[in-house]
Amino acid sequence: MNQSLRDLLEVDRLIHEPARLMIVTILSVLESADFLYLQRETGLTKGNLSAHLSRLEEAGYVSIEKTYRGKLPLTLCRLTPKGNTALADYRKRLKQYMERT
């Protein structure tokens, strides 16, 4: 039991944070999504979402591309291969923990 509990310390805390977990989960099933879509789906404020995306981008989990669709500015977010691996690892560790307890 102690070992199982200690395993929890090894989960990726960057992804473990609920708002960021929402973001990477959404991005993991899509090729890309823009800021507006992520904001609607997560219910986060612009500032909050922006801060979380910046953290994920710094970690190399998410790539952010600023582009335009006609006159409309579009901020496209994608989960990187590193982010995908991190999410898969997070799932695996959490599943292992749940199975043990």
Partner: protein, 214 residues
């Protein structure tokens, strides 16, 4: 746990694609085009050059209409949807899924060919079979994206098909009536959805940046 959340996120994303009704409007338009095709085929004299050209152009109309429809959907979404509810792009289907889709399409083509070969004398039942096929497709989409209006279309499509067959309008006019009525039904569904969508969501101003990620 997170797998369930991924499934939910995927379904929500797929539902988001149909939330504006644009795809239905365009698909309904394509059905109307097919209705016009079968009506024209029946109206033109069998020996005329136009009738001959028309009889071999169905595949071109379907492929061209599908390509044009896809372009039109993206064009309309760029102007109406992305500024309101955001932009998403889906992951390309896996090789396995592409193969499976190809096999299903091949099976359906063989099934239709076999049905034509076995009952060449009377093809008046084709609208009913088409209606059942469309009904199954709407049922599948409804289950996949979780939209109630697709279930309504899953009931309406076979009803239109059966009614068109029972009316004994003849092969071409039966198909023309089926596709025209189906197109109208789908366009009503799409139009009503788009009307509700435009009322519900405000468009972001063109100059307004959507976020503040540095």
């Amino acid at each position: 746990m997170t797998n369930d959340l991924s499934k939910q996120a995927k379904q929500r994303a797929q539902r988001n694609w149909y939330t504006d009704g644009i795809s239905e409007l365009v698909f309904g338009g394509l059905c109307l085009l097919l209705g016009a095709y079968f009506w024209a085929q029946n109206s033109l004299k069998q020996e005329s050059l136009l009738a001959s050209l028309l009889s071999i152009s169905l595949v071109l109309i379907v492929i061209g209409g599908t390509l044009l429809g896809r372009y039109l959907i993206h064009w309309l979404k760029e102007r109406l949807t992305y500024a309101r509810t955001g932009y998403i792009s889906f992951q390309s289907p896996s090789k396995k899924r592409n193969v499976l889709t190809g096999l299903v399409a091949l099976f359906l083509a063989m099934l239709v060919s076999a049905l034509f070969a076995r009952a060449p004398a009377s093809l008046e039942w084709i609208p009913a079979v088409s209606g059942l096929f469309f009904g199954a497709a709407w049922l599948f989409f409804g289950h996949r994206v979780g939209l109630a209006r697709f279930y309504v279309l899953a009931i309406v499509s076979p009803l239109i098909g059966i009614a068109s067959s029972l009316a004994s309008l003849g092969e071409d006019i039966g198909l023309a009536a089926f596709y025209a009525l189906l197109g109208v039904a789908i366009m009503i569904s799409g139009g009503f959805t788009l009307f509700k969508y435009l009322r519900q969501y405000q468009q972001m101003d063109a100059g307004e940046d959507s976020e503040g990620v540095e």
